[in-house]
């Protein structure tokens, strides 16, 4: 009965960690590869590995940092595997390619527009993508982003401003008007 109680307590802690950090882990992976599905799978896998560590009695000082590190490694492994399977065509390029009946025109245009945004984001650095993802996907403010990235708030203000600037320049180069 003692073991059951220990596992139950551990499971509650694990669920709390998931609630607290899963979105941040997802954002980190997404920023790396711009692939939502892969980011979801890798996030789940990273948490399963965290569970194994916790269950074995390992103490993890900073779960967030540990999760992000594991998730990044998993993302790198997956990218290498995808390269071998698909060649130079990254998975995100194939997103939204469907056979069958044509979608309504406005939906197709919208899909095309956002596919273009994705390809332009891909031209930014991972650091720029990370800060933009935390800001716009999770709606984090600068102090929250600073906490995740482990830098001071002033640096975040500057990085965010520069990332936006670089993105705007690339959008202009590609002739893309930012429209909501």
């Amino acid at each position: 009965m003692g073991e059951d109680s220990r596992v139950a307590t551990l499971r509650r802690e694990f669920e709390a960690l998931y609630e607290r950090y899963s979105r941040e882990v997802w954002s980190t992976v997404y920023a790396r590869w711009l692939d939502a599905e892969s980011a979801t799978d890798i996030t789940q896998e990273a948490f399963l590995r965290l569970w194994k560590q916790l269950e074995s009695g390992e103490t993890i000082q900073s779960p967030r940092a540990w999760l992000v590190r594991v998730a990044r490694n998993l993302a790198e492994d997956q990218a290498k595997s995808a390269f071998h399977r698909y060649g130079t065509q990254a998975p995100e390029v194939m997103n939204g390619v469907r056979a069958g009946d044509p979608a309504p025109l406005d939906k197709m245009e919208r899909d095309e527009f956002f596919a273009k945004i994705r390809s332009i984001l891909d031209e930014l650095s991972v650091d720029d993508r990370t800060i933009l993802t935390l800001r716009y996907a999770l709606d984090y403010d600068s102090p929250q982003i600073a906490d995740v990235l482990g830098v001071n708030v002033t640096a975040i203000h500057m990085r965010l401003s520069r990332a936006r600037q670089r993105l705007a320049e690339k959008l202009a180069v590609h002739g893309v008007e930012p429209k909501p």
Binding site: R11, F14, S22, Q44, Y136, R164, A168, E169, L171
Partner: protein
């Protein structure tokens, strides 16, 4: 397009575009926490599925007792009806067991016909 002195509290087109982009990318609903460390539950067999002969001994004893009483009663009825028939049944031919007894039949001289043994094959009630 891009305001160099962008006020983060006032969203511009770029902010709105990026918000819309990431809203499409985020999983909806958010994936649930992986199931970990769940104990394996062994389900007990419901009592309604337990065969009758495995019910508790008290019920079994009661049923056995009731059956015994019923058997004894039945035997008693049989024996008592047999005893009532016995005075005339003794005179009956051993093999004349099927003919019913007609107590109203008398011989011309008033003596009674010998009664045949009551049919012992009739079912007891």
């Amino acid at each position: 397009m891009m305001n160099p002195t962008h006020d983060p509290t006032t969203p511009d087109d770029l902010d709105r575009m990026l918000s819309a982009y990431f809203a499409r990318e985020l999983p909806h609903p958010w994936p649930t926490c992986p199931s970990v460390g769940e104990p394996v539950m062994v389900q007990a067999v419901p009592s309604s599925r337990v065969p009758a002969h495995q019910s508790d001994s008290h019920t079994r004893s009661s049923l056995t007792l009731a059956a015994s009483v019923a058997a004894l009663l039945g035997l008693g009825l049989f024996v008592s009806s047999d005893i009532r028939q016995q005075p005339t049944a003794r005179k009956a031919a051993p093999d004349s067991a099927t003919a019913p007894i007609d107590l109203s039949k008398t011989t011309a001289d008033g003596s009674r016909h010998p009664m045949s043994k009551q049919d012992t094959t009739s079912p007891m009630r």
